[in-house]
């Protein structure tokens, strides 16, 4: 018996297969993971993401603090509500967690970090915050649901209070809007348009019922994983961890090198790797043979070396197997993967594999 989110009873009611996920009882699927996946690509699906950890930061020096804490630069956040994706690094340049930061006000920011890393993240943030006089408040009393898909905002709009519904519908991608305890952000983890909606736990059941009544499909962790893999979005613990630099996990775009004198934690360690000829590549793979790529399978690059699949699976949208992999430095676009003792052919492709319902690679 793990922790339960405010939506738990609704998952059971919808026929969910419940699994343990980092100590939480979460829905894996509600019958068919593939159908939930397609619902999100073609219409709209709702994911309970209340297990994720919301942390609010407040204080006069909160911006200085975040410029020290994370690899991206919150100076990029100039408009209220704007979101920034980045990672927190340790002194060795390994990834403690990836997170999203919302700019709520000059002295207020909201972080959303992973559920499985909650305790170490909070400990790390609190430790680093000493000296900045920043208040660190976990908001575990709030519920959060991600509604994703081309029709997501249209179908979820009736759940939003009429007083700020129009404003929420008008908000641009990667912006959030705060209204009391409610927070509606145009962000997600699927490669589709949509919202992540934070609300008081007491509102969770009514929102869930209304979403399902408007035709939004409940979607579980299984579909969440295949959707994020198609969108080539990293999963903490699989694609990167405390031993992996963001530069070898496809996350260099979330590192702000300028201004050069901004001294964020881990900077000197990852700078040493920045122009190294040995720096591993982080690539997308498309399986050309029949079969399914899985996490931890060995990638063989003839004459160069070996790498490893960090996230592999079947892409329901493409109908083929795809993967993210860390592979040796070098100029090549083909490799082979050891799948249950057989070396199968893969092609290195530019990610994302799928975005906004469209296949983005040559199949």
């Amino acid at each position: 018996m793990g922790s339960k989110t405010p939506f738990y009873d609704k998952h059971v009611e919808a026929g969910a297969r419940i699994v343990d996920f980092g100590g939480w009882d979460m829905p894996l699927h509600y019958g068919s993971q593939k159908e939930e996946h397609h619902a999100v690509r073609q219409n709209a699906g709702a994911f309970d993401v209340s297990h994720m950890t919301i942390v609010d930061l407040a204080g006069e020096r909160v911006r200085d603090f975040l410029q020290y804490l994370v690899a991206n630069d919150v100076a990029k956040l100039q408009d209220y509500g704007k979101a920034l994706y980045t990672s927190m690094l340790n002194e060795n340049g390994g990834v403690i967690d990836d997170l999203i930061i919302y700019f709520l006000g000059e002295t207020r920011y909201r972080l959303v970090v992973n559920a499985a890393t909650r305790e170490k993240d909070l400990a790390w943030i609190r430790k680093q915050a000493k000296g900045f006089d920043v208040a660190v408040t976990e908001r575990s009393e709030l519920a959060m649901i991600a509604v994703q898909g081309p029709k997501a905002r249209e179908l979820a709009a009736p759940c939003i209070d009429a007083g700020f519904r129009e404003a929420a519908l008008a908000s641009k991608p990667f912006f959030g809007l705060e209204a009391g305890e409610w927070f509606v952000a145009r962000t997600g983890y699927t490669g589709e348009d949509g919202w992540e909606i934070v609300m008081p736990a007491a509102d969770a059941h009514a929102v869930w019922d209304r979403l399902l009544a408007s035709g939004v499909a409940p979607a579980g962790l299984g579909a969440r994983d295949t959707l994020r893999l198609e969108a080539a979005m990293n999963l903490y613990g699989s694609d990167m961890d405390e031993t992996i630099s963001p530069l070898e996990a496809g996350l260099e775009w979330t590192v702000a090198w300028e201004p050069a004198d901004r001294d964020f934690i881990g900077r000197s360690a990852i700078e040493a790797l920045r122009n190294s000829p040995d720096r591993q590549r982080f690539v997308g793979l498309l399986l050309e043979d029949k079969g399914v790529l899985r996490n931890h399978q060995k990638v063989v690059v003839d004459g160069i070396g070996e790498g490893e699949i960090t996230s592999g699976g079947f892409s329901p949208t493409i109908g083929r197997s795809i993967a993210l992999a860390r592979v040796p430095a070098g100029d090549y676009d083909r490799a082979r993967v050891d799948v249950r003792g057989k070396l199968l052919n893969v092609r290195i492709v530019k990610t994302p594999f799928v975005r906004n319902g469209q296949i983005r690679i040559d199949v």
Binding site: Q33, T226, R294
Partner: protein, 131 residues
């Protein structure tokens, strides 16, 4: 879970066997196995004519979640494989005891029913798993 077909035999590994009129035995995985695996996306089949040992790896079924071996419940040779599964592995989810059959085997020593489970015995196993 729907009722188990009464004319089949079952194994601990959640496979079923059907005795066909020509002496061959059709083999597949049970609805319980298919549901646990989730949507199937790939099936690796043996070659027709291949000999297999009882308990040996015979096929691999892969779902969106995971890969799982299918073991030969009896010794014999592969008489036929269900080629339709190459393009439509979800037949196993949709109709595990019918169109979702995986192979047909010619048993080398007949069918030793004492090593297999009756529908009642297999139902009992499923009931215990639910507890």
């Amino acid at each position: 879970m729907s009722e188990l077909p009464g004319d089949l035999l079952y194994t601990n590994d959640h496979e079923w066997l059907r005795r066909e009129g020509d002496g061959s035995v059709s083999i597949g995985i049970t609805a319980h196995a298919a549901t646990s695996l989730g949507d199937l996306v790939y099936v690796e089949l043996p070659e027709a004519g291949q000999d297999v040992e009882a308990g040996g790896e015979m096929a691999v079924v892969e779902s969106v979640k995971a890969a799982s071996d299918v073991y030969a419940p009896i010794a014999g040779s592969i008489a036929a494989v269900n080629d339709d599964l190459a393009d439509d592995p979800e037949k196993i989810n949709a109709d595990p005891y019918g169109d979702g059959w995986i192979v047909r085997m010619t048993p080398s020593d007949g069918l030793d029913e004492s090593a297999l489970m009756t529908p009642d015995a297999y139902q009992q196993l499923l009931d215990e798993l639910d507890d």
